[in-house]
């Protein structure tokens, strides 16, 4: 078991024949992901990496039965690509692209929601179910199969925590990089119940950062609904106010969105909050011991 994606998930790639799209599609296929084709307008009918290329997402869905799309198109075309996927009946779009305008995501996400399509990202490493399916740009070998679910706003911190968890002798069920933009798709609040319901997941690691209040919402949700242990780290305790820390959404505005308030809310919800990211693995070992 796992959440959202597994070895049978059929995936297409939007921006399939581009440099990034090609490189990562190939890596995903090598990991075992069932990539069934891709979309590049104007290249329909060709073959790329041994898979068919289509002009439109509809064509790709009709021909392959794909349900998930991995999106690599340039930022200016992201909203169009997301809406096209939603219109074609894709059930989940994983948006890797970095740099999409906020206004575009506002429209794209509203449309996706209307069409019942889930989104992950943008500006994220993607989603991986260990040993089964990798849809994104993460280094697959770090994610050994196990019993820990992982939700993170940051790419490299996802790898860092997965690595620590594995070094402690545990592994990952599914890891989801939700992205650090102001508007993102699936977030803690939607993913936590999925991990709660997944029998293989025994504990959950959540990595947050400064800016916005998704972690605060998560804390409220955990308090009411999550029975599995949760370990959390919030990046940016030492970040100054009013400065954007790399991610478009990682900014403390006035006194809102600080790491400290998020850590306090999570602690109050019964979450094991670590101050140093170097302690994530150890904290997981600790909560697992007490199970």
């Amino acid at each position: 078991m796992s959440i959202l994606v597994n070895k049978d998930t059929k995936v297409i790639v939007q921006g399939f024949t581009g440099k990034e799209g090609s490189f990562h599609a190939e890596q995903c296929m090598a990991y075992g992901t069932k990539i069934v084709g891709g979309v590049t307008p104007g290249k329909g009918g060709q073959e790329h990496l041994g898979k068919p290329v289509f002009n439109t997402v509809s064509d790709a869905v009709n021909a392959t039965g794909a349900t998930v799309s991995m999106i690599f198109v340039p930022p200016a075309f992201v909203s169009d690509a997301v809406m096209e996927a939603a219109d074609a009946g894709i059930t989940m779009a994983v948006i890797i692209t970095e740099g999409a305008p906020v206004k575009d995501m506002m429209y794209a996400k509203a449309y996706a929601t209307k069409k019942n399509m889930m989104t992950i990202g943008p500006n994220c490493p993607g989603i991986i179910t260990a040993d089964e399916c990798k849809i994104g740009i993460m280094p697959g070998f770090i994610f050994k199969k196990g019993s820990i679910g992982l939700i993170s706003k940051s790419g490299t911190l996802t790898y860092e925590s997965a690595n620590q968890v594995v070094k402690e002798g545990f592994g990952i069920t599914t890891a989801v990089g939700i992205g650090g933009d102001p508007i993102i798709g699936l977030s803690y609040k939607q993913l936590l119940p999925m991990f709660e319901a997944d029998p293989e997941t025994k504990a959950i690691v959540m990595i947050g950062e400064i800016g916005g209040d998704l972690e605060i919402q998560a804390a409220a949700y955990i308090k009411e609904h999550i029975t599995k242990p949760v370990v959390a780290f919030i990046a940016g305790q030492t970040a100054p106010e009013g400065k954007r820390m790399g991610h478009a959404g990682a900014i403390i505005s006035g006194s809102a969105g600080t790491a400290q308030e998020k850590m306090a809310a999570l602690t109050a919800a019964g979450v094991t909050v670590v101050v140093s990211p170097a302690d994530i693995g150890k904290a997981v070992a600790e909560v697992m011991k007490n199970l």
């Binding site: 506002m106 790419g155 650090g180 990595i207 990046a235 790399g246 991610h247």
Partner: protein, 389 residues
């Protein structure tokens, strides 16, 4: 990206959002000329810097004659203005905005920003104009009226009515206010703004609404399609090292500690700063070198970090994913040849090909490179090195 008050007011004018009349001036002579062109008998001389709190810092003054305009402009131009948003070093004032005096009957607050939870813009209004909206939100949240505007429908009359009646405006003023608010929403959407703040929005004795101040910030991701906004960028308002780093696609933010940090990925970069702090040190900067971490970017990273004389040690923390650690290790060695790195460099490389990378660094025999095994070990060693231990 942020712009100046006078630039924001130019955008407002294009969209028929009323503001007092005014002109920008770079010299006292220009200031006097601006006042003469505006006419009247009272003017406001306003320092143009990208920071709030200008009035309290002495950067906004009233003049009752053109001689006084000259005097105040001479005083403000060239001054280093310190406000709660500039930091103790303050900001050099290079231009002043000369504005006609306004007959203020009442002051309000009006702002638009993205509500990340609702995923749409919200417009906020308050009767507590001229005060910090943060303080109002904290002390008297009931005095802030908010409406969320679905971008698909755009600004509707009811949004405006909710705000206007919420502010307690008499019914003869409601439509004037709605026109103002609706035009402001269009400015926000059309220019990919991230926030607009008018504090205060004033109502004059003759019933007009005017934006007495104007603050605007933009979505950096949308600047590629906002040429007219790009032209308004004032690099002298930004931290020079941050601008320099930006040219090389490095995301750098200067902090006040002494442990330099070079990390791949924004989240891990913040996490590295936090770890240094946890181990008893203080980070000197945030620096995300991005996914590739090539010799050139690493060399540039060293160069930028070392521009800060406080830096006593550098912690290079790379988690190799797609980028292989052996290549990063070679990059670090190359970089030390390109840039003279005269402080201890603590290197932690983990992930893809980490073992080969450790070998490469060991064999290179560079004496100020100290290898670390993991995040905590690296942070500890970096903190110790910065303390001269």
């Amino acid at each position: 990206m942020n712009i100046h008050e006078y630039q924001a007011k130019e955008l407002f004018k294009k969209y028929n959002v009323p503001t007092p009349r005014g002109h920008i001036a770079f010299t006292p002579d220009e200031a006097v000329k601006a006042a003469q062109e505006l006419g009247g008998s009272i003017w406001v001389v306003k320092a143009q810097i990208h920071a709030g709190g200008r009035g309290l810092g002495g950067g906004v003054k009233l003049a009752r004659s053109t001689a006084e305009v000259r005097e105040l402009a001479s005083e403000i131009l060239g001054m280093t203005l310190v406000t709660h948003q500039t930091g103790p070093e303050g900001k050099l004032v290079q231009k002043v905005y000369i504005e006609e005096g306004a007959d203020i009957k009442k002051e309000y607050y009006l702002g638009i920003l993205l509500d990340r939870a609702l995923e749409m813009p919200i417009m906020m209004a308050s009767t507590e104009g001229g005060m910090s909206i943060e303080d109002v939100a904290h002390n008297t949240p009931e005095k802030i009226i908010k409406v969320a505007i679905d971008p698909i429908t755009g600004f509707q009359g009811f949004h405006g009515r909710k705000l206007a009646f919420g502010l307690g405006l008499p019914k003869e003023d409601v439509n004037t206010f709605i026109k103002f608010a609706s035009a402001l929403y269009n400015v926000y959407m059309d220019y990919d703004a991230e926030m607009i703040e008018i504090n205060p929005l004033i109502q004059t004795g003759d019933g007009r609404f005017l934006a007495l101040d104007a603050k605007m910030g933009f979505d950096n991701n949308a600047l590629y399609r906002q040429n007219s906004i790009n032209e308004l960028r004032d690099l002298s308002e930004e931290e020079p090292t941050e601008v320099e780093a930006g040219k090389f696609d490095l995301s750098y933010i200067k902090l006040d500690g002494n442990v330099g940090c070079m990390v791949n990925g924004a989240g891990l970069a913040m996490g590295t700063m936090d770890t240094i702090n946890y181990e008893g040190g203080k980070p000197a900067n945030f620096l995300d070198v991005g996914g590739s971490a090539s010799a050139e970017t690493v060399a540039k990273g060293f160069e930028i970090i070392l521009k800060d004389p406080n830096v006593k040690a550098i912690f290079v923390n790379i988690f190799g994913g797609i980028v292989r650690c052996d290549r990063v290790a070679n990059g670090i060695i190359e970089a030390t040849k390109i840039t003279n790195v005269n402080v201890p460099v603590i290197v932690r490389l983990d992930g893809t090909n980490a073992i080969e990378a450790a070998e490469i660094l060991r064999n290179a025999g560079i004496k100020n490179i100290i290898a670390a095994t993991d995040l905590a070990d690296g942070a500890k060693k970096a903190v110790a090195a910065a303390k001269g231990e």
